[in-house]
Symmetry: C2
Subunit: 224 residues, 2 copies
DNA sequence: GGATGTGAAGTCGTTCACAGCT
DNA sequence: AGCTGTGAACGACTTCACATCC
């Protein structure tokens, strides 16, 4: 069995997926540097993880290496991208054009090529259109939220980035669900529930900063 | 022992800290709604976690509840804030004024009050000053990165937000360390190493999106 | 009576160590 | 000989269940 990409065991830890993304970055570097082959120990060193961890992570999805040799960099990279689904283009919409939403829009060029923001929505487009377009080289039209279902279909949107005030989050999520947008990345600190088959990931800056604050507050210097 | 805030067991899981942040949000809501007392079961329901988890999380830091009653909302909230260190003001600097860095700056009003961006740095301030200030109501002066040590002291900066290209990340981190800035929030997808006593948290959008992409790609609809 | 605080059990993820290929 | 792939040991976090206390 070589390079199978279906799951062997049904449950893959989320941490494994995050590491796959990291391996992917490291492999791109190695590839650019012209490396042909890499061992799990070398890759592990570069990614700061245990080498058995690398092998276990990959083992969830098949056998990608050659015993006594290692992994072919290009092959492993494309295998991982296929596993992650990051070998296709993902089209995204931002909902909510406040500070956060327009920040996301202006940030968009920084995203990897295959993640594309192709639409922007707000409850009151006239109010925000000036501010948003002034922040962008080529302005993107801000549409009224009510058009989301129609536009989602037209522009093949698969992921929604929620950047509204927290109080509006669940309502917006319901609209996304109705529009058949199955992936949600939520930036507003409020919990969302969606039906089976939809996926929500949260990015709460306050939580991350609280985490940093905790670690900074509670660090005890080593006892000399 | 009531409301002690020193650690009973030395290792607190990171997940516990993240949940504390979540409890904090929920308690603020409850407080605004005028609730005086809350049980672990009620709080757990609101935060979508197990009620024993709530009690275990709190148990790392002391005893905050009253048996047979529950927790006083206001007291628990302020205890958690004290534990997290989120009851003080944290002053932050952004380093790197590309798309991402200026997005962070324009986003700053969205952050909770006590996390403040008080400085912005770049390797080439003249080049970016126009673009950045045009994006902001009241512009913030962008300073040359070489001034970071001096400014860190003057403005009491404790956290640095790294928003440079990945290749520059370690160099910037070294400067932050030298300037005595102990907390780093890194947005550029590259690993950082810092000396003992410094803290790094990463926020890699690509990793999060890869994660979403994986879940969307691999969802299997329930067998009818 | 009722909800907390906590040892014990259970679950999940990581690391070890070596058998099995190349 | 060398490195992968993997069962088994280990460790960490979560959940259970109940003794404890208000």
């Amino acid at each position: 069995m070589k390079g199978v990409t279906t799951l062997k065991h049904s449950k893959v830890p989320e941490a494994t997926i995050r590491r796959l993304s990291r391996y992917s970055r490291c492999l791109e570097e190695l590839d650019e540097r012209g490396e042909k082959v890499v061992s799990s120990a070398q890759l592990a060193g570069k990614c700061a993880v245990n080498s058995a961890q690398v092998r276990k992570d990959l083992a969830y999805f098949g056998e990608f290496g050659i015993r006594g040799v290692g992994y072919y960099v290009k092959d492993l990279l494309s295998d991982i991208k296929r596993i992650l689904g990051s070998n296709k283009e993902w089209r995204m919409a931002v909902i909510g054009m406040g500070n956060l939403g327009s920040a996301l829009l202006s940030y968009k060029d920084f995203l990897k090529q295959h993640y594309k923001i192709v639409a922007a929505f707000d409850i009151d487009p006239p109010k925000v259109i000036g501010r948003v377009s002034e922040k962008l080289g080529k302005p993107m039209e801000v549409l009224h939220i009510s058009r989301i279902k129609e536009v989602a279909k037209d522009r093949k949107i698969e992921i929604g980035l929620i950047a509204t005030p927290p109080s509006e989050v669940q309502g917006v999520a319901d609209l996304l669900v109705e529009a058949g947008i199955r992936g949600i990345l939520n930036f507003a600190p409020a919990q969302i529930t969606v039906p089976e088959g939809f996926v929500v990931k949260n990015v709460f800056f306050t939580t991350i900063l609280d985490n940093l604050a905790y670690l900074l507050s509670n660090y005890r210097p080593p006892q000399k």
